[in-house]
């Protein structure tokens, strides 16, 4: 009897282990799933984006009798979760947000549903450079995501500090360096603050200079062009700026420029601008290397896109929400809650433009913005380039060596 009980117990435990394994797998695949048509799940970049969506979603929920769950995640976490969920036949998320450099990787992997299949067509009211990011191939292909947040880098400066030393706001990088040198010499304050943390920060901070010097990251055959005359000049300038400035992470960049301990820096609008107020003055990123050089686009675009997942359980409803959340009316409402528009009509709205003084600058910067190379391997390229740029500013490699190594590493990745 005891023996039989033991066998039974053992069998029961074994079955329980197997069952638990199967069940947890099932739960994992369906976690957060919309389960029917009464719920939409959105994987979003946490912070102001989620706040803005939460503030306006109620009208959609009421109209469609649906609950919209918005899951806010850190960028790296968001990318990982979206990628893992893409393999499930029934996705946990109906809509996903994606940083624009992820778009080629996600589009190639078939993570997004084609929006034309869901009845969403191109809308000319979206700013063109933003809309182009959602197409695959870039700018000319089918539409897979709509621009949700129109982020673009700007040039921030402390007006009082510049005026105190009779300096104009520089319009080219040679002047930026000269002004930074002068302020350092005259005032002792940092002339310019670089954002030199290895990885995405330093790459985002350096590329506008590189572009201003006429640089192209890759040629038409995807051969790296970072080790070029433009690359050398840009990195020399960048190292020169650090010599009369500081290397901070974003909180200290904002603090130092806003409070006048530093004169100039590049940054994303949301760092300095909250609602109607800005803690520092701003303008578009200088578009020329020198006063007599050719003017080119230099503002790095960093839009957050939103699309319907290919494995969504409610693609039609998700498409309706996407249309709702990116509509002109909704964008106007979201501005009040920290939303950054992507539609021209919102930027040009006279009432809003009177209240939010940065709108004209933002729109101009968006219209003259530059997208990072549209390759699925961008995150790897960025990592390799970031490591070499970091080595150059830390002084462990010469500018020449860092650019040579970066070029080789980028070519190896693109092979």
């Amino acid at each position: 009897m005891r023996k039989k009980m033991s066998y039974m117990l053992s069998l029961l435990l074994t079955t329980a282990v197997l069952f638990t394994g199967c069940q947890s797998q099932g739960q994992a695949s369906g976690q957060g799933s919309s389960q029917g048509t009464d719920k939409l799940v959105i994987a979003a970049r946490g912070g102001s984006h989620v706040d803005a969506m939460n503030a306006v979603k109620e009208s959609f929920e009421k109209e469609h009798n649906v609950k919209v769950d918005i899951i806010g995640l850190e960028a790296a976490d968001l990318k990982q979760k979206i990628s893992l969920d893409a393999k499930n036949s029934k996705g946990a998320y109906d809509l996903i947000m994606a940083d624009d450099p992820w778009m080629p990787q996600f589009s190639e992997a078939g993570i997004f549903a084609k929006l034309s299949d869901l009845g969403i067509q191109e809308d000319s009211d979206f700013e063109e450079s933003s809309l182009a990011l959602g197409k695959s191939p870039y700018a000319i292909g089918d539409l897979y995501a709509l621009p949700f947040s129109g982020n673009v880098q700007l040039f921030f400066y402390n007006k009082e500090l510049l005026e105190r030393h009779n300096h104009e706001v520089p319009t080219n990088w040679t002047d930026v360096l000269e002004t930074a040198k002068a302020i350092k010499a005259e005032d002792g304050s940092a002339g310019y603050v670089i954002r030199g943390q290895q990885g995405n920060p330093i790459v985002s901070d350096f590329l506008p200079l590189f572009w201003a010097y006429g640089g192209q990251i890759f040629d038409d055959n995807w051969k790296a062009q970072i080790n070029s005359e433009a690359g050398h000049k840009a990195l020399d300038t960048y190292v020169g700026l650090l010599a009369v400035g500081e290397n901070y992470e974003n909180t200290d960049i904002v603090g130092s420029v806003s409070e006048g301990r530093a004169a100039m820096a590049l940054g994303w609008p949301s760092w300095f601008i909250k609602g109607e107020t800005a803690s520092a003055d701003y303008t578009a990123i200088p578009s020329k290397a020198a006063s007599d050089a050719e003017s080119v686009s230099t503002g790095m675009i960093g839009n957050w896109m939103m699309g319907v997942t290919a494995n969504s359980q409610n693609p039609e409803l998700a498409a309706e929400f996407l249309t709702f959340i990116t509509s002109s009316d909704t964008q106007k409402q979201m501005v009040e809650h920290g939303g950054v528009p992507t539609r021209k009509s919102v930027y040009q709205d006279t009432e809003l433009a009177a209240k939010y003084k940065h709108f004209p600058v933002m729109l101009e910067a968006l219209q003259n913005s530059v997208a990072r190379p549209r390759t699925a391997k961008w995150s790897q390229v960025e990592e390799a380039l970031g490591a070499e740029l970091s080595a150059a500013i830390a002084g462990t490699k010469t500018v020449e060596q860092a650019l040579t190594d970066a070029n080789k590493a980028m070519d190896d990745i693109m092979q």
Binding site: K3, P201, T251, D252, A387
Partner: protein
């Protein structure tokens, strides 16, 4: 019960846990090793192909990986040595105190109770150039501010310091427990024989707590190899790869870039390295000889 049915009974009892171990340990390990010989990219898993030792060759040739291995080993050696020495010193000190032992024991443990992510975020604020309390304090003494996390001469040491701050209490706790188990009679006999404090420490305390000491070293060695959160949050591996660790390298390649095959190969190399550095301690702590 005859021998055969006893054996069946034993296997039946072991079956659930054996199955569980196979599911959570053996299968993932074999799966990882298998993947390390492929070009498995998560978003194109159907195109996965066997590529032999290519991943391993590429990893070993990668300057960043070699730097990550060096950083990890350097970090492991310094962190384990300092944490163990400090933990032992504090344990001996507190154990010798007549008053305040309880209060000190509890307050000492606070840092090791915090999750590494929280620790990293707290120190990120404290080490900030302008808003951080550390630079404010240093300013009172007329030094700084220091760019702790972006200066190539400081960043590695800053992370090492934070790890020591967090994990010395853990070493202290184990060693303090070890000290409690040393028979009092040995100390009393030594005192009667006129032995000094140092002699008592080296000839009685240390031999008695040796198994605990090895356990602390083993656990911290394994744990320092896994250093990730602090580096990823505080420095991102920079400046100039000076704080990159193996786990961060694996995360970047395998998790963020979704190059599962490549990340798996780096993980296998890391396991080998951990084994090389742990086998000595494992043998000692299991009672064998190294």
């Amino acid at each position: 019960m005859n021998l055969a049915s006893k054996r069946v009974f034993q296997w039946a009892m072991l079956a659930p846990v054996t199955l569980l171990l196979i599911c959570v340990t053996v299968f993932p390990f074999i799966y990882t090793v298998t993947n390390s010989f492929t070009d498995y990219y998560y978003l194109a898993s159907d195109a996965k192909q066997f590529i032999g030792f290519s991943n391993y060759v590429k990893i070993i040739q990668d300057e960043q990986f070699r730097q990550a291995v060096w950083n990890t080993l350097k970090f492991m050696f310094l962190a384990v040595s300092i944490e163990t020495a400090l933990g032992l010193g504090i344990a001996v000190l507190i154990e010798s105190m007549r008053r305040g032992q309880k209060v000190l024991r509890i307050t000492m443990l606070a840092p090791s109770l915090l999750p590494p992510v929280t620790v990293a975020l707290i120190w990120q604020m404290m080490l900030s150039n302008h808003n951080g309390i550390v630079n404010h304090l240093l300013h009172w003494f007329g030094v700084g501010p220091f760019n702790f996390l972006m200066d190539i001469n400081i960043a590695f040491n800053a992370i090492l310091f934070i790890d020591i701050w967090q994990w010395t209490p853990f070493a202290f706790l184990l060693l303090y427990a070890g000290l409690q188990s040393v028979p009092r009679s040995q100390f009393e006999a030594a005192k009667v024989d006129g032995a000094g404090k140092l002699r008592i420490f080296f000839h009685i305390t240390l031999p008695n707590i040796m198994p605990t000491l090895f356990m602390v070293i083993l656990l911290r060695t394994i744990d320092t190899f896994r250093l990730f959160d602090k580096v990823n949050i505080l420095t991102g591996g920079g400046p100039a790869n000076s704080t990159t660790t193996i786990t961060q390298y694996i995360y970047k390649q395998g998790v963020y870039n979704l190059q599962i095959g490549y990340g798996a190969a780096a993980s296998v190399i890391m396991v080998m390295l951990v084994l090389v550095f742990s086998v000595f301690y494992i043998k000692r702590s299991m009672g064998g000889t190294a």
